[in-house]
Symmetry: C2
Subunit: 494 residues, 2 copies
C-alpha cells in the first residue's frame, strides 16, 4: 500500500531523501500508519519508489534521529510509540506540515465571511465530565436513560430482515413505524392531527429548521425572529443571505405588531420561548395566525423541549390552531431521548413536506435507517413514554429546587418556567458581565451559558444567564447556585 502514500517528485528542488523523510514524518504525525506493524523494508520501499537503497537508508536514519521511528533487531523499523502518545505531535513538528504553506490555496482568506466566523453558542463536549456543577442546556442526564431497554431495541432492529431493508434506498420513505409512533405518541400530545405524509424525519431539530428556512425563503427574503432568540436560526438565515429582523418579546412571548406583515417568514417558540421560557397565551396565538394569514407570512414554530411539560394539559402547539397551513412545525427527540441520535421531525402541509423531502434528498438523501427503526421500537414498546414520564417527574423536582435556590441566593432574578423544559432564564443586576462571571465560576467547577449571545445586541444584554438543569444532579443544584451567587456578590462589591 505504501507506493500510493509516498511518492517522489524528480522535478522538485527538494532532495529525494528529504521528500521521503518529510512524507513519512507527516504520515506518522497524522497517526495514519498502524503502530505495531513494521514499516516497509528499505529495499522494498526503495524499489516501489524507484530510488536508490542508499537514499532510502539515509531517509530512515534521519527519521530515527528525529525520534519518529526506531529499529528493532531483525524485525525492521517501527514507529516510535512516544510520538503517538503525545497529545498533539503535530504542534511539535509544525515546520513539517504543511510542507510549503505559502504554496497552497489560502482558504482562511477565502472563507473570511462564512459560517465558521458566525457566533455560535459553545458547549464544551466534555462538560459533564469536567465540571461538578454542569448547568448545561440541551443534554440528557445519562444516569436516567434506560440503557437496557434501548439495547433491546437496537438488538431487535438488527435482525436479518431489518438489515435486508437497510440495503434499500430510503430517500423517499421514512420508517413507517417511526412515523406512526410519532403521530400517536408525540404529536397528538401537542394537539397535532397529522397524517404520516405530513411529517418528515430529520437529523435533529437543527435540520428541520434548516430545511424549513431553505424551502420557504430565498436570498433577499425578509426573515424575522424573536429577540432574544435562538442564535443557530439567526446563523442559518445569515448564511442564506436573508434580510433579518428581530422582534421584541415580553412576558407573553413574541409581541404581535404590524412589522410581522412585512416579513416573508417568522421564527417563533410560542409554547416555551427560547430562552426566556415564557408561554404565549391563546389570544396572542390567534392574533398571530390571523395577522400572518392576511400578509401571506410563513411561521416556523419551534416546539423544542415540548415533550417535557410539567403541566397536565400543556398549551397545544400553535400549529394545532393553523387551519390555513402557513405554520411549519419543528421538533426533536433530542431532549427526551438522546441528542447524539439526532432524531428530529417537521410537520406541514403534504405538498410542503413533499418539497422538504426532496430538499432533504439533495442534502443527505435520508436519515440513517437503523436509528429510525430503533427509536420506533423504543416507542412502540412503551419505553419512550415511560422514560418521558420519569424525566418529567425528575425535571419537575429539579425545577422546584432551582426555583427555591434562585429565590434564596439570587432573589428576584428568575421566574420559574410554567411550561416545563430544562432551563431557567436569569437576569442579574446590570453591571454584571455574564462572560466574566462564567470565567470565575468555571474555576469553582460551575458551568452555565451566558445569555448575551441570544440577543441581537449582546453588548447591551450582558447580564443574563441560561441555567440548564437537565444534566445536573438535584443535590448539587443549591451548592452550584450558591457559588454563582458568591461570585455575583463579589463582582457587585468589587
Amino acid at each position: 500500500m505504501y507506493e500510493n502514500m509516498f511518492r517522489v517528485d524528480r522535478n522538485s528542488h527538494e532532495s529525494l531523501q528529504k521528500q521521503i523523510r518529510r512524507q513519512i514524518a507527516i504520515a506518522i504525525i497524522n497517526r495514519q500508519l498502524p503502530l505495531h506493524q513494521p514499516l516497509p523494508s528499505i529495499r522494498k520501499l526503495a524499489g516501489e519508489l524507484n530510488v536508490s537503497i542508499n537514499t532510502l537508508a539515509l531517509a530512515y536514519e534521519a527519521l530515527k534521529q528525529d525520534g519518529f521511528i526506531c529499529s528493532r533487531d531483525r524485525s525492521g523499523f517501527f514507529i516510535n510509540q512516544d510520538i503517538y502518545q503525545e497529545h498533539s505531535p503535530s504542534e511539535k513538528y509544525a515546520d513539517l506540515i504543511p510542507p510549503n504553506k505559502e504554496n497552497s490555496f489560502d482558504y482562511q482568506n477565502f472563507f473570511l465571511s462564512r459560517s465558521y466566523n458566525l457566533p455560535r453558542i459553545s458547549k464544551p463536549s466534555d462538560c459533564l465530565v469536567r465540571y461538578n456543577y454542569p448547568f448545561i442546556c440541551g443534554l440528557v442526564d445519562p444516569t436516567l436513560f434506560p440503557i437496557a431497554s434501548w439495547r433491546e431495541c437496537i438488538r431487535d432492529s438488527v435482525n436479518v430482515i431489518e438489515v435486508k431493508n437497510w440495503a434499500a434506498d430510503f430517500s423517499r420513505i421514512d420508517d413507517p413505524l417511526l412515523l406512526e409512533q410519532l403521530v400517536q405518541r408525540v404529536l397528538s400530545k401537542r394537539g397535532l392531527v397529522a397524517h404520516p405524509d405530513e411529517v418528515l424525519i430529520t437529523i435533529g431539530g437543527q435540520q428541520a429548521l434548516y430545511i424549513a428556512i431553505k424551502t420557504l425563503l430565498r436570498e433577499g427574503s425578509t426573515f424575522a425572529m424573536e429577540d432574544p432568540g435562538y442564535p443557530d436560526v439567526m446563523n442559518i438565515a445569515l448564511m442564506e443571505s436573508m434580510n433579518i429582523r428581530t422582534l421584541p418579546v415580553d412576558h407573553k412571548g413574541l409581541i404581535i405588531s404590524d412589522e410581522i406583515k412585512d416579513c416573508d417568514c417568522i421564527y417563533t417558540t410560542p409554547s416555551h420561548h427560547f430562552p426566556t421560557t415564557v408561554t404565549m397565551p391563546l389570544e396572542r396565538r390567534q392574533a398571530l395566525l390571523e395577522l400572518t394569514r392576511q400578509s401571506n407570512t410563513f411561521i416556523i414554530e419551534d416546539d423544542y423541549e415540548a415533550e417535557i411539560s410539567f403541566n397536565d394539559t400543556p398549551p397545544p402547539a400553535l400549529k394545532s390552531l393553523d387551519n390555513w397551513g402557513n405554520v411549519i412545525y419543528t421538533g426533536s427527540l433530542s431532549k427526551s431521548l438522546l441528542p447524539g441520535l439526532r432524531i428530529g421531525y417537521m410537520v406541514g402541509d403534504r405538498d410542503f413536506i413533499r418539497e422538504a423531502k426532496a430538499l432533504r434528498h439533495h442534502i443527505i438523501r435520508h436519515p440513517p435507517v437503523n436509528n429510525q427503526r430503533s427509536v420506533a421500537l423504543f416507542m412502540q414498546r412503551g419505553y419512550f413514554d415511560r422514560f418521558v414520564t420519569k424525566l418529567t417527574r425528575e425535571y419537575k423536582q429539579r425545577s422546584q429546587i432551582m426555583a427555591q435556590s434562585l429565590e434564596h441566593y439570587l432573589p428576584g432574578s428568575a421566574v420559574a418556567p410554567s411550561f416545563g423544559g430544562g432551563s431557567f432564564w436569569v437576569k442579574l443586576p446590570e453591571p454584571i458581565d455574564a462572560l466574566e462571571l462564567q470565567r470565575l465560576c468555571k474555576q469553582d467547577s460551575v458551568w452555565f451559558e451566558p445569555g448575551g449571545a441570544m440577543f441581537a445586541d449582546s453588548e447591551q444584554n450582558k447580564n443574563y444567564l441560561r441555567l440548564g438543569y437537565s444534566s445536573i444532579n438535584q443535590s448539587l443544584i443549591p451548592e452550584g447556585i450558591a457559588i454563582i451567587s458568591k461570585h455575583v456578590n463579589n463582582l457587585l462589591n468589587a
Copy 2:
C-alpha cells in the same frame, strides 16, 4: 389528551356536530388514535369540548354509520379495525381531508420550480424483493453482510460509558476512533495522507457533495461537471442557482480543455468515472491539476466505490497528487458497508474542513454519534477489511460473469470496468429507448437503470443502460442479461 386534538369553532359555518365528526374521522384516517383504546366517552368529550351531550352523541352515531368506529357493550366506542387495515384509507375518504383545501395555502404552486420537480434517478425501495433480477446500483448485497460482527459492534457501542458520551454535544468533534480508522484503513489505500483535522464525517457521500458545493460556491458561480455524470450533483448545483456547464468525457474520463479555466469549480470522478466506469490516466490527472491551479478552479473529486477495487495497486486518488490544496475529496462507506447507515466523509485542507464543519453544524449539528462509534469498532476489529475483501472477491467474480454474459448476449455493448466497482455501462444500438426496454424487462422481473438521465441531453442518449451487479446473485446474471437481450432484439426487429 383529546381536548388538544379536537376543538370546535363556534364562528364556523359548519355545525358543531359536523366539525367534531370530521376531526375524529381525520384522526382515524391518519391512524393517529391507538387502535385498542376506547375513545373518550360521550359525556367526557362533550365536557372537554364544552358542547351538549346530544351533539356529541350524534357525531359518534354518524361516525359509526360511516364505519369509522364501533361500539362494544359497556366498554364504549372503539376504532373500527378494518379502517386501519385498509392500505390507504385516506383515498377512500378523500373528501374529508383536507377539510377545505381552497382555504389553505397553495404550496404546490409556490414550489413549482423547486427541488421536487428536479429529475432524480428513482430506485424502487422494494427493488430487491420485487424483482428476481435486480441489476440495481449502489446497494449492498445483504446476504454478504456479516450481521453477527455488526451486532457485536453496536452492542459494544451502547455500554454505559458510551451512552454517557452521546449525551454531549458533538458538533465540533467527530468520533476520534472513526477518524483514526478512516485515515489508516480507507484513505491510505487511496494514497491520501491526511490528518484527522483534514477529514469530516458526513451523512453519506451526498452530504459531502452538498457541503463541498455550498462551501466553495455562491449563487451565480460557474460550476462544471462531466457529461454524462452524476445527476444528484447537477441537482444540488441547480438548487443553489449556479451557472452550470457540462464537459465531455472520453475513454480516459474528463477531457481536459481550456473551458475548465473559466469555471469556479468542477466535479469529477477520475478513478472510476460515473457512469461510464473508465479511469483517468496519470498524465491527464497531472494536466488537470496544473490547469486548475493556474485558473484558481476548485476540484470536487468524488471517489465513489473506491473501496471496491479489483486491482492490487489501484490508481491513487487525484487528491493524493494535490500539493496546492484545491482538491476536495469525497467518499462514503455506503458501497462497502450499508447505505442505510449513511456514513460519508470528505478530505481537504484543515481551514477548508473547519469551514465545512461549521456549515455542517448549521445543517444538522453533527452525524449520529452511535453510528460513528459502531462503524469505528467494526473497523478497529478488522471486520471492515475482511468484509471489503469478501465483497471485492465476490464482485470480481460477478464482474467477470457480467462481462462474459454481455459479450455473449449483447456483443460489443460494454467494456468491463478496469477499476472495479459494482456496475457496467452498456451502449445499445441507437434506435433502442432504454425507458421502453425497462418497461418490457420489468414484466420479466428484470430491473436496471436507464442511462439517459445521466446525460445533460437525455433525449439524444436514450440507448444507454447502467447495470449494477452488487445486489444480484451470480447465478442469475446470465439469465437476466439474456432477458434484456431478448427484448433488445424484439425492439430492433419490431
